[in-house]
């Protein structure tokens, strides 16, 4: 991740932290997708935004949408093995949760950021159960 991208992520997190959770507007799917758009100059989040409005319709939408892993591959991310010599770094995407309802965290400054229904929270990297880690 370049220094310019790091500052973009810092500003993106700062802005997102003032949004209330709102399905289809500011939620756990759109948080990583919109960050990817900010980073890459793409508009991939448009395919997600405004397609659901509550938890039920969101689950229904995701069921018919491509998997998180497939989406990340399509966005240019590749899965990595994390260990002591190759730790999580800024900008990595961490996939956690159940396959039918995955949670995607964005790594920044030693924490993992996730848009929960209570707002944007930062979690220590050690406390999140990681299914896979993705890097661009």
């Amino acid at each position: 991740m370049t220094q310019d991208e790091l500052l973009k992520l810092a500003k993106f997190i700062s802005r997102y932290s003032h949004h209330n959770y709102q399905y289809g507007k500011y939620d756990c799917m759109l948080f990583p997708a919109e960050w990817n758009d900010v980073r890459s100059g793409t508009k991939k989040a448009d395919a997600i935004r405004d397609n659901y409005y509550d938890k039920f319709t969101a689950m229904k939408f995701y069921k018919n949408f491509i998997s998180v892993e497939g989406w990340l591959k399509g966005a240019g991310y590749h899965e990595i093995e994390v260990d002591v010599d190759n730790p999580i770094i800024d900008g990595d995407m961490v996939v956690s949760g159940m396959p039918e309802w995955p949670l995607v965290y964005v790594a920044f400054q030693g924490n993992l950021y996730y848009m929960s229904e209570d707002g944007l929270f930062a979690y220590n990297t050690k406390v999140v159960n990681k299914r896979s880690v993705w890097r661009k």
Binding site: L6, A10, F12, I89, F108
Partner: protein, 186 residues
């Protein structure tokens, strides 16, 4: 607080960002907002979430509370022959002023601001992390600390005049020291 700010802070969702002034060198103006902010004639550069600080605490006592400000994600500039750590450590930062102003917004429109912290730097550290890059952390004490004052300041009129000319608050304090003898009424 202005009426507009009172109304804004009464809402369920409040949008605000902090503007930090660090009085080292020519002064550093940094904000955690996602955009640069011009306030009081100074341009606060956006550092977003790269800048963080402890929660500002208020209490009823005249205590010297401390607050740390961290600015992370610092990388050496390309072609920079003077590493940033060396530069940071060479700055004269002890006892330099720090202030934090909280600027309130409503859907990104500026409402008002209020000074929430004022203090002085009493320590500074710089470090390099493998995952997070380099960071600078400064520790401050609030404005009840004044390092230019000697400890055990004398509360007499002469001292008071030297600090606050014209203030007669201690004019008769020497009278307090007089021994008062109580006698039974005749």
């Amino acid at each position: 607080m202005s009426p507009s700010l009172v109304a804004e802070t009464s809402k369920a969702v409040v949008q605000y960002y902090e503007l930090v002034y660090i009085g080292v060198g020519d002064g550093y103006y940094i904000t955690n907002a996602p955009w640069d902010i011009n306030h009081g004639g100074n341009n606060y550069i956006s550092a977003g979430a790269l800048m963080s600080f402890d929660a500002v605490q208020e209490n009823i006592g005249f205590e010297i509370t401390r607050l740390s400000i961290t600015i992370g994600g610092i990388a050496p500039m390309p072609g920079d022959s003077d590493p940033f750590l060396k530069k940071i450590l060479s700055l004269d930062y002890i006892d330099r002023p720090v202030s934090i102003v909280r600027a309130y917004y409503n859907h990104d429109s500026y409402i008002d601001s209020v000074l929430i912290y004022s203090g002085y730097i009493n320590n500074g550290t710089a470090g390099v992390g493998l995952q997070t890059g380099a960071a600078v952390r400064i520790e401050t004490s609030n404005n009840w600390s004044n390092f230019s004052l000697v400890s055990g300041r004398l509360t007499n009129d002469a001292k008071q005049q030297s600090f606050y000319p014209g203030d007669r608050g201690f004019e008769y304090c020497k009278q307090v020291q007089k021994q008062v003898e109580w006698k039974e009424e005749a």
